[in-house]
């Protein structure tokens, strides 16, 4: 390959453009494929998914969402707990579970239940997984109102 005229790109520039175009196309294809998977690769159903398109009773599924505030109660048998899982749009699914709950299973926190939908619309969970949110806060700040938390944070920042 002899490069004499100024209008022709040097080989390394040709390679650079070629590789960048190839990389762009490759990443675009990868992202498109992953994006296409977005409903298939979900780890769980949200309550609104179940309301919209109820799975047949008895099929093993995962339900995820927030434990509704004030909904956890122990049933009369003393070992079964009942609570409600709410999604982003306010739909709630009643859940029952017998067994030991994870430490992070608290009201207002995320949960993923493996189990089946019973005929009455109650979700019978076999295992519970607690989902942590993206917030990391030390224990000292727990229970403080927003205003009080700001004061504590400013104090500690000033030190």
């Amino acid at each position: 390959m002899s490069v004499t005229s100024n209008s022709t790109l040097a080989p390394k520039h040709q390679r650079l453009i070629l590789v960048l175009v190839a990389l762009f196309v490759l990443i675009a294809a990868g992202l498109l494929a992953a994006w296409g998977l977005r409903s298939q690769a979900d780890y769980f159903y949200l309550p609104e998914d179940i309301a919209e398109n109820p799975p047949e009773p008895g099929r093993a599924i995962r339900l995820g969402g927030m434990v509704q505030n004030g909904s956890i109660r122990t049933l009369d048998d003393g070992v079964t707990i009942a609570f409600a899982v709410v999604g982003r749009e306010g739909n709630a699914v009643p859940v029952t579970y017998r067994g030991i709950v994870p430490d992070l299973f608290v009201e207002g926190s995320g949960v993923i239940a493996n189990g089946r939908l019973a005929k009455g619309g109650t979700f019978e969970a076999e295992t519970l997984l607690a989902k942590h949110d993206e917030n990391y806060t030390p224990r000292e700040l727990e229970g403080l109102s927003d205003g009080a938390m700001h004061e504590v944070l400013e104090e500690s920042a000033a030190q």
Binding site: K12, R15, L16, L23, A41, D42, P102, S109, A130, P138
Partner: protein, 252 residues
Amino acid sequence: MGIGTRDKDMHGFANPRRFLALARRLTPILVGVGLAASTAAILWGLIAVPPDRLMGETVRIIFIHVPTAWLGMAGWGTIAGASLAFIVWRHPLAALAARAAAVPGAVFTALCLVTGSIWGRPTWGTWWVWDGRLTSMLILLFLYLAYIALSQAVEREGASARLPAIFGLVGAVNIPIINRSVVWWNSLHQPPSITTGGSSIDGVFLWPMLIALIGFTCIFAACVLMNMRALLAQTQAEARLRRRAMEAEADA
């Protein structure tokens, strides 16, 4: 490829004096800063940091988990960047840098998976689930293992170093998928805490974590430089052996 370019490549391998001088000076600095920063950050995280409101003491694993996750991905970023430089500019040191980053990257990815699993048991209630984040991170580990096997086979059989370079570029597709996995898909792993909008990690956890991140990154960089020097020495020793064998043959 003509004879001329091959000679130039051999020359680049045989005499990368400026790189070696720089690497020799940088390595002890990186090791020192890396060990000091990561030890300090981990001790700070273990002793001085208060427990998390929900997770309690287990939050302390964040000071290892996040830096290893970052380096697992940054390691492949190094492979991809060096592969790009090798394909475009044909610089032999770039191919070496990509090979040198593979093993440290794989080790950090494995550490990320192990610490995440240990963290998942008390917080989530499970060692492992097949959600988007965990699965894409496991795929990254497999990509590393495949890259290591491929680059070693190419080295041994004398095939073109462009082969692992292309694999390094193709594998980079997984990095944005790992990053976006918790946003696109419902997952057990929580969404990102640090975004362009700020951080939802309280300062008492964030600062030691960032210092651990810098420390681990220095150790990673030192490993890559040492690995590159070892690979260079190996290449030079092999070239010398070959030359000696040829001379002996000529004498006989």
